[in-house]
């Protein structure tokens, strides 16, 4: 099944998108910020792709693929005649080169770990090999990838930016500056980049998908305060404010019917949660963790952020496959929470610390949490720190008893339930420097997760999702997290922007799927 482009779409035009933060790099092996994530998606392609506006996989540079019965060998047939922006045809060699590159430690890719299931990855990671053993070029248009274990998420991994195909000669030419001179096969190519000011992507006339993109070019202006971006949008100078509607203006925009019409609302693969460090007393007691879960007034927090989210019941967001629909989560019940604390031997509560990243609205949310905890006798000191310091504290043993995740994690890399487990709830992440900030390590669950991910047969997809659902339900029993809310997405666009609403809340392309939107004038 493929996407049906909008029949009314008109080619041509330029749109202006703004961001506050600068774009760090367009190197697909490195870029991991949400600004460059979607830009890289438009400049590069991977073997796999998603149907625009959905979480459904579709083939990308691969025309088709085959999975062996044991789920460990993937054979991709490449499209022929796909040209890089430098004019050379893309071949299987490029695919292999790209995967080797992203897994080589010298590249310092933050996404290397996603490829851990490919045979030979460990040898790459410790530097003893220079090429992935499991990736073989069968012929110029066929590439075979062997895994060391069955991995049901592997097709999603191949749709990640990190798996984008890059031409070796361009990487060699620019070396570490490849990120500033990207060459890919995508719908757009980089036309101009004035550091700190703007970045212009230009339509790739030779794009292998026919008919798209519609836009002639996209200008990204960086360093723009969201409030100012909104003012410019209202004056018609900007088409999409990349950072969304600033909280300070949210009520004003939504209260104005004309402006509210320009807003597209959608879900997002996001969960905001509090980690409870199970290695630190008293969070080592499950009753305490459950009590905390019952103490948080999620509705109030959602109200405080102007209702831009829905209260969460579990780690997975509702739009994620594997979400347990009939699970109501812990009820908000401070009285019960207090009782449970008393049962755990803490009738007078206790003192603890809540780490939080220092950008609005996170300190505010932390203060709301703090107040809820105070109601059951738990006195939490807030430590609002720079992102890097919070991450540092989370990854250091017995340092941060509680962390509010906002601003740092967790928008899914790909729409699969496994993405919410490994590094942030599994044992693998519960190490020094890891991202499992609750230090929750349940071997049984790890085993269940591995089992689930070994079910590669598409026919058994439901069984797999059920397994994942079970995993997360078990997690909720042990309560290392307090899932607080799932953020919604509010994308604002200028009146001249066309294309289905789904494109503006595309779950994998934030803020907009650039390849398919168009302008109406």
């Amino acid at each position: 099944q493929d996407y049906q482009p909008d029949p009314n779409a008109k080619p041509g035009g330029n749109i202006i998108v703004t961001y506050k933060d600068d774009v760090a790099t367009l190197d697909p092996a490195i870029g991991y910020d949400w600004q460059n994530w979607s830009m890289i998606k438009s400049v590069f392609d991977g073997l796999m792709d998603y149907v625009p506006g959905t979480t459904e996989l579709r083939p990308g540079l691969a025309e088709s693929y085959e999975i062996s019965d044991d789920g460990t060998t993937f054979t991709f047939k490449l499209r022929q005649g796909v040209k890089f922006h430098n004019g050379r045809e893309m071949t299987a060699e490029d695919v292999k080169y790209s995967l080797d590159r992203v897994t080589t430690p010298a590249t310092q890719s933050p996404g290397a770990g996603f490829f851990g299931s490919i045979k030979g990855y460990d040898a790459m990671a410790d530097g003893s090999a220079t090429s992935l053993e499991g990736v073989t070029v069968v012929d110029p248009y066929t590439v075979k990838i062997e895994l060391s274990r069955p991995d049901a998420t592997f097709l999603h991994v191949m749709a990640l930016n990190f798996a984008s195909v890059v031409p070796k000669e361009a990487v060699d030419e620019y070396g570490t500056d490849f990120g500033k001179h990207p060459v890919g096969t995508g719908a757009f190519k980089l036309a101009d980049w004035t550091i700190g000011q703007q970045l212009v992507l230009q339509k790739n006339a030779d794009y292998w998908r026919s008919g798209v993109p519609y836009l002639d070019s996209i200008t990204f202006e960086v360093g723009q305060e969201p409030i100012v971006a909104l003012l410019r949008l209202q004056k018609g100078e900007v088409d999409v404010p990349g950072d969304g509607i600033p909280p300070a203006k949210f009520n004003e925009v939504m209260g104005n019917p004309d402006e509210a019409k320009q807003v597209v609302v959608g879900g997002q693969l996001h969960t905001g949660y509090i980690t409870l460090n199970v290695e630190m007393a008293p969070f080592d007691k499950v009753e305490v963790r459950q009590a905390i879960n019952m103490a948080i007034n999620k509705d109030r927090i959602v109200q405080m952020i102007n209702g831009r989210a829905t209260p969460a019941t579990q780690p997975l967001p509702p739009s994620m496959p594997g979400y347990t629909k009939d699970y109501a989560g812990y009820p908000f019940d401070p009285a019960k929470a207090k009782e449970m604390l008393a049962e755990a031997g803490l009738p007078d509560g206790f003192e603890t610390e809540l780490y939080v990243m220092n950008t609005d609205p996170n300190p505010r949310i932390a203060q709301a949490i703090q107040q809820d905890l105070a109601a059951i006798g738990v006195k939490a000191d807030i430590k609002a720190l720079a992102q890097a310091n919070v991450i540092e504290a989370g990854g250091t043993p017995k340092t941060a008893p509680m962390i509010w995740s906002g601003g740092m994690a967790w928008i899914a890399d790909f729409p699969d339930p496994s993405n919410f487990y490994g590094p942030i709830l599994g044992c693998a992440g519960a190490v020094e420097g890891g991202w499992n900030w609750s230090w929750y390590c349940n071997k049984d669950l790890d085993a269940m997760a591995t089992e689930a991910d070994s079910i590669t047969d598409p026919a058994k997809q439901d069984e797999r999702l059920q397994k994942w659902s079970d995993v997360y339900m078990k997690v909720m029993e042990d309560a290392p997290w307090v899932p607080v809310f799932n953020e919604n997405r509010y994308t604002m666009k200028s009146t001249r922007m066309g294309g289905a609403d789904a494109l503006y809340v595309d779950p994998v392309s934030i803020p907009v799927n650039y390849d398919y939107v168009y302008v109406t004038e």
Binding site: N251, R300, M304, N306, N358, R364, Q370, K383
Partner: protein, 295 residues
């Protein structure tokens, strides 16, 4: 003592305080400072609500803060807390920063400036090079690093602010002291056998008072805002402890939607700084004997 000295009584000039109290603006300034200080001290009794209380009716259903009104005199903030109570409690922090930290910076700056300005030679050279070095640091960066290394708390923040803010004072005091050290009355004191400490504290320091007052009063706003910047960067006073500065910074993007959240604490800072300036100006005139008879 003898009758003669008693008889001098009326001729003896009135105390500085008495003369200060004759000035209307100075009294206004002192009154405001007193109100702020008392408000800070007695905040628990005056404040209608606890400063960290996030009240249910403090937010609209859409999550917007309440404008000033009957229940919340100065309105509420984004978490539904009473702004008036927060301003009262915030005065504690801001007074400590604006008065203690700023005062400490002034003292350090003055000491270093005076020492360097009076003792030429290597002591002066070393101190001034050190000052140059400190001046070459982007102050904010230094503050961020220092505050991040020591876990942030009100007193740490106050120290950090004092540590980065003395530099300009030192520079200016240095220049002034160098000039004073050349004045004839200093030479005259030396020939009387006056020791260095005596010359510095009895004769040079009093002449620096007017300048120190200008810097000190202008410095109040600057330090209070610096504390806010630090809070904003997460290396300042930790939430939910209010300070005038961090109330502004937390809410500055809302200055249109909820102007009271920015302009009321802003006015408080301004008022405090202005009051100190009024008192300072008056104090300067009162302490300056050459101004006597010209009031």
């Amino acid at each position: 003592m003898t009758d003669a000295t008693l008889a001098e009584g009326p001729a003896r000039p009135q105390s500085a305080l008495r003369r200060l109290l004759r000035r209307k603006l100075a009294i206004l300034g002192m009154a405001i400072i007193a109100i702020v200080t008392l408000g800070a001290i007695f905040a628990p009794w005056i404040a209608p609500f606890a400063p960290q209380d996030q009240m249910f009716d403090g937010l609209t259903l859409e999550g917007a803060p309440m404008p000033p009104g009957e229940k919340f005199w100065l309105g509420t903030d984004l978490l539904g807390r009473d702004l008036f109570s927060r301003i009262l409690y915030g005065a504690r922090t801001s007074l400590i920063i604006g008065v203690v930290a700023n005062g400490l910076a002034l003292i350090i700056g003055t000491l270093i400036g005076v020492t360097a300005g009076y003792f030429r030679g290597w002591i002066g050279a070393v101190l001034m090079r050190f000052t140059d070095l400190m001046m070459a640091f982007p102050a904010l960066l230094l503050a961020i690093c220092l505050a991040a290394i020591f876990t942030p708390s009100l007193w740490i923040v106050a120290m950090v602010i004092a540590l980065v803010n003395w530099v300009q004072t030192a520079r200016v005091v240095y220049t002034e002291t160098s000039a004073l050290a050349e004045r004839e009355f200093v030479a005259a004191e030396k020939t009387l056998g006056a020791g260095t400490a005596r010359i510095l504290f009895r004769h040079i320091l009093p002449h620096l008072v007017p300048m120190i007052i200008v810097w000190g009063t202008l410095g109040i706003s600057t330090t209070v805002l610096l504390e806010a910047t630090l809070s904003y960067l997460g290396v300042g006073v930790q939430p939910p402890t209010p300070s005038w500065g961090n109330i502004i910074f937390e809410n500055q993007t809302y200055f249109q939607a909820a102007p009271w959240l920015v302009f009321i604490p802003g006015a408080a800072i301004l008022l405090l700084a202005l009051s100190f300036n009024l008192v300072g100006d008056a104090l300067r005139d009162v302490l300056d004997p050459t101004q006597r008879g010209r009031e």
